[in-house]
Symmetry: C2
C-alpha cells in the first residue's frame, strides 16, 4: 500500500491520537507538571508499541526521563535514530489564547494547542510514518527513537544520558523534525542552528522594599540600576557590547551569504505577520542573516517591585531578568556565560549585590550539504512537494544536535515541517493539518532513499 492511501485510511485516527498527546500539559519548565511529563512519555510509549517497536522503555536521567524505543530488523542494516521531545513550552500568557492551550481544537484546517507543532505534532509524524512502514512491511532499516522531556529547558540531562548509553544509541543518522520549512509550497532543510546561553540575573539593593518618598533620591534603586546595566549590554545598533563576544565567530563568506539569500523573504510580509512597522537588528545584515548568521541578545523576562494594579510607592528591594543570547557556530556557550557574567557584574555600581546564574546553554550546529542523509532528505521532499528543497540556517537552537555529534559522533538531518506562522512558544500555537499529513507522507521516502 502506498503511503498516501494509508494516510487517507487512517487520517482521523492519526489526528485523534495527536489530540490525546496535546491534552497532556507536559511543561518541563514547571516542576509542578512532573506527573504530566510521565503521562506524556507513557502515552508515546504505548503508541510506539502499537506502531510496532520491539521494545520501548522510559529510562531515568538526572532530570526528566527519556523515552527510548527501537525496532532492530537486521544489525547489518543501517540504523536511523529519530529524535524528538515530548515536553512543551509554558502556555503563558494563557489569557491571550483563543482556546484552552491543552484542549486542542481544529480551526481553518489547523490544529491549535501548545505543542501542536513544537514538537508533539512534528514528532508524531514520525511515529505514524514508522507505523506505516512496519504495518506494510516496508521497513528497510533499523529504527531507534530517543524522545526527551527537557528540550524546552535546554536538555540539561540528555548529554549525560548519551554518554551513559553510547552503545544503545549507535546509529548512522539522527532524523529530526523540530524546525520549520520556508512555506507550504517551498520545502527546506535546516543546515545550521544557533547555540544559546540563557542566564538569570538578580540585582539586590536595600533589605526590603522602601517607601519611595522617605528614601527616594537617597537610596540606590535596584530596578533603575538593572535597566542601566541591561541597556549597557547592547549599543543602539543592536551590537552586543560584551568584550570578546564576537571573537570566536567565523565570518560567513560572501559566496555563502549569496546562497543563503536565495531563500525567499519579504520584509513587508514579515512585518505584517508580527504587526510591527520597523524591523530591528544589526546594521549591515539582512533579516535572514540577523536570524541565521548573527548572534543576538534578548531579555526574555524582567520583573521587580510592584506590578499589581494601581500605584504603590516603593523603592523595590531587588530586580530580576532572564537574558539569553543566541550564538552562532564556534561561539562556546560556557565561554559566553563567563564573559557575560564578568561584564555584567562590572556594570554594577557600588551599593548593589549582583547575582548571575546560567539556566541553560547549548552549542550551534552546521550540517554538510554533500552527505547521503542530506541527499535522501532532499529527494524525499522533492518527491512529495515537487520542488528541490532550499538549504537554510535557522535562528533557533537544538543544543542536543551539537551534543549528539560530540558524544555519539553522529550527524543529524533537520527535516522540519513547521511554518513560521505556527506561533510556537506563543499563544495560539498551531500546526496546519496539511503539514502534519505531508510530513507523514515524506518521512518514509527518506528511509527509502537513505537505505537505497
Amino acid at each position: 500500500m502506498e503511503i498516501k492511501e494509508y494516510i487517507e485510511l487512517h487520517q482521523q485516527r492519526f489526528l485523534d491520537e495527536l489530540c490525546g498527546l496535546l491534552r497532556i500539559p507536559s511543561v518541563s519548565a514547571n516542576p509542578g507538571h512532573k506527573k504530566d511529563m510521565k503521562a506524556a512519555a507513557e502515552f508515546l510509549k504505548d503508541r510506539l508499541m502499537d506502531a510496532g517497536v520491539d521494545h520501548a522503555e522510559i529510562m531515568p536521567t538526572k532530570g526528566i526521563p527519556v523515552l527510548y524505543a527501537e525496532k532492530i530488523i537486521n544489525t547489518s542494516l543501517p540504523t536511523v535514530m529519530v529524535y524528538g521531545h515530548y515536553d512543551v513550552q509554558p502556555a503563558d500568557p494563557v489569557e491571550l489564547w483563543n482556546s484552552d492551550p491543552f484542549e486542542p481544537v481544529i480551526k481553518e484546517n489547523k490544529i491549535f494547542g501548545r505543542g501542536a507543532d513544537d514538537d508533539k505534532g512534528q514528532l508524531y509524524m514520525h511515529v505514524k510514518a514508522f507505523e506505516y512502514l512496519v504495518k506494510t512491511n516496508q521497513l528497510s532499516c533499523n529504527v531507534k527513537f530517543i524522545i526527551e522531556g527537557e528540550e524546552e529547558i535546554g536538555s540539561p540531562s540528555l548529554k549525560e544520558f548519551c554518554k551513559q548509553h553510547k552503545e544503545l544509541l549507535k546509529s548512522d543518522i539522527i532524523l529530526i523534525s523540530d524546525t520549520t520549512m520556508i512555506a507550504q509550497d517551498t520545502p527546506s532543510i535546516t543546515v545550521g542552528l544557533r547555540g544559546i546561553s540563557y542566564l538569570e540575573v538578580d540585582v539586590t539593593g536595600p533589605n526590603r522594599d522602601l517607601h519611595s518618598g522617605l528614601y527616594g533620591g537617597a537610596v540606590i534603586n535596584p530596578v533603575n540600576v538593572l535597566t542601566k546595566m541591561i541597556a549597557s549590554l547592547t549599543d543602539n545598533n543592536n551590537s552586543v557590547l560584551i568584550p570578546g563576544f564576537y571573537d570566536d565567530i567565523i565570518l560567513v563568506d560572501e559566496e555563502e551569504r549569496k546562497q543563503l539569500s536565495r531563500a525567499p523573504f519579504n520584509s513587508e510580509t514579515f512585518k505584517k505577520s508580527i504587526d510591527v512597522d520597523e524591523i530591528g537588528g544589526e546594521k549591515g545584515y539582512t533579516t535572514l542573516e540577523h536570524i541565521g548568521l548573527r548572534p543576538s541578545l534578548d531579555v526574555n523576562g524582567i520583573w521587580g517591585g510592584y506590578t499589581g494594579e494601581g500605584a504603590k510607592t516603593i523603592i523595590p528591594s531587588s530586580a530580576h531578568a532572564k537574558i539569553s543570547m543566541r550564538l552562532v557556530p564556534n561561539q562556546n556557550s560556557m565561554n559566553i556565560d563567563k564573559i557575560f557574567t564578568e561584564y555584567f557584574k562590572s556594570l554594577a555600581p557600588k551599593g548593589v549585590k549582583v547575582n548571575v546564574r546560567s539556566l541553560h546553554g547549548g552549542e550551534g550546529y552546521l550540517a554538510p550539504l554533500d552527505s547521503k542523509a542530506y541527499h535522501a532528505a532532499s529527494k524525499a521532499l522533492e518527491k512529495t512537494f515537487g520542488k528541490v528543497p532550499v538549504p537554510i540556517r535557522s535562528g533557533g537552537s537544538i543544543p542536543v544536535v551539537a551534543d549528539f555529534e560530540q558524544v555519539l559522533g553522529v550527524k543529524s538531518i533537520l527535516m522540519g515541517f513547521g511554518l513560521d506562522s505556527d506561533a510556537i512558544h506563543s499563544p495560539n500555537e498551531n500546526f496546519p493539518l496539511y503539514n502534519f499529513y505531508k510530513g507523514i507522507e515524506t518521512i518514509p521516502w527518506f528511509y527509502k532513499y537513505f537505505t537505497a
Copy 2:
C-alpha cells in the same frame, strides 16, 4: 483627670480597638477590597460616635467614600480639623512578612500589621485623644474629622470633595499625624513635603511573544528597549535628564540648608538599617537633602515577558513599568507628567508603540514656622517629650495638604509620631506602643495651646 492617667486606665482597650481596625484589609489600590474599605470606614465611624462626636457620616465621593465627623461645641470657638486615612498600602510581598499583615501581633513592644503606623495607628491616636477631651469635659474648641480611603492611591477624589463641601470643612487648622519623628527621644514637626508624579508606561513591539531563536536579532525587543528608555531618564549622578525637570525648583539658600542639617543623621546607622554598603543620590547634596530638598525618580515596578520558573525563550510582546518622581515645592505635578511623557516618548526607537498614563499626582507643601499652630505643636511636643522639636522636611508626599491649602485656604500642621524603622509600605510594618501612647498624650496639649 490628667491624660496620662486616662491612658493608663484605658491602654488595653485602646490597643484592642486599634487591632480591630488593623484586621480590616482596606487596601485602596486593589478594587477587590471594596467591602473592606466600607468596613474600615464603618469601624471608625462607630468608634468616633463612642468617643463623642455629635455626628458622623460616610459620605460618597467619585471614588472611595470619605468619613466625616464633627463635634461643634460653640461656633465662636476655633475649629481643629483632623485629617487621616483609613486605607493602607498593599501587603505584597506577603511572603516576607513574619506574621499575617492583617492579624496584628505585639512583639518587643511594637504592634505589627499593615497600617500599624501608616495611617491607622497614627489616626487612631487622634480618636483616643479626642475621646479623652470629651469624656473629661476638657474640649476647648470645635473638632472635625475628615478621614479618607484613597490616600495610598494619591487621593484622587478628595480635592473634588473639598470643593463640594467647603462650608462643612471650614476650620482654622488641619491637624495631621501621617509623618515620622526623628527618634523616640527627638520629636520633630514636618514643615515640608514633596509632591509626586506617578506614571505607568507600556512599550509594545510584536503582536505576540515570539520565539527568541527564530526571531532573535531581527526584531526589536520591547524589554531591551524599555531598559534603554528608563536608563536614559537619569544620568550616572542620579540627576534627572528630562528637559525642564529642574526649571521650577526654588533653590534652598545656604542658611536654610544649615538649619535643616541640624537634624541628627548618621549615615552608618542609615546604611545598616536598610543593609546597603553605599548610599545613592545626586552629588553635592547630603542624604537628608536628597530626601527633603531634591526631587527624585524611581522605578516602582517593572515587568514584561516570562517571569516564571525556568527558561522560556521568547521575545516578549510588551514591557511595562511604574515610574514615579518625588517633586519639591513649586514643581507642578501635571507639568512634570507632561514633560516626562514627551521626553519618554522621544526616547523610543521606531518600531515600538509607547503608552504613558498618569496614575496619580500631587503637589509639595511648605509650612511656616512662625504660625500659632506651629508654636502650639512645638509646645505640646516639648511638654510630653521634654525637648523642643526639630523642624524637618520630609521626602514623602501627602498631596491633600497642598489641596487643602488651595481649596479650603487652610494650613496643615504635620505632627507625626512614626519612626523611620516602622517599615511603612514594606513588609512587617509596625508602630512602637510607646509612640502610640505618646501621641495620644501629646495631642490634647496641642488643642490646649492652640486655643489658649
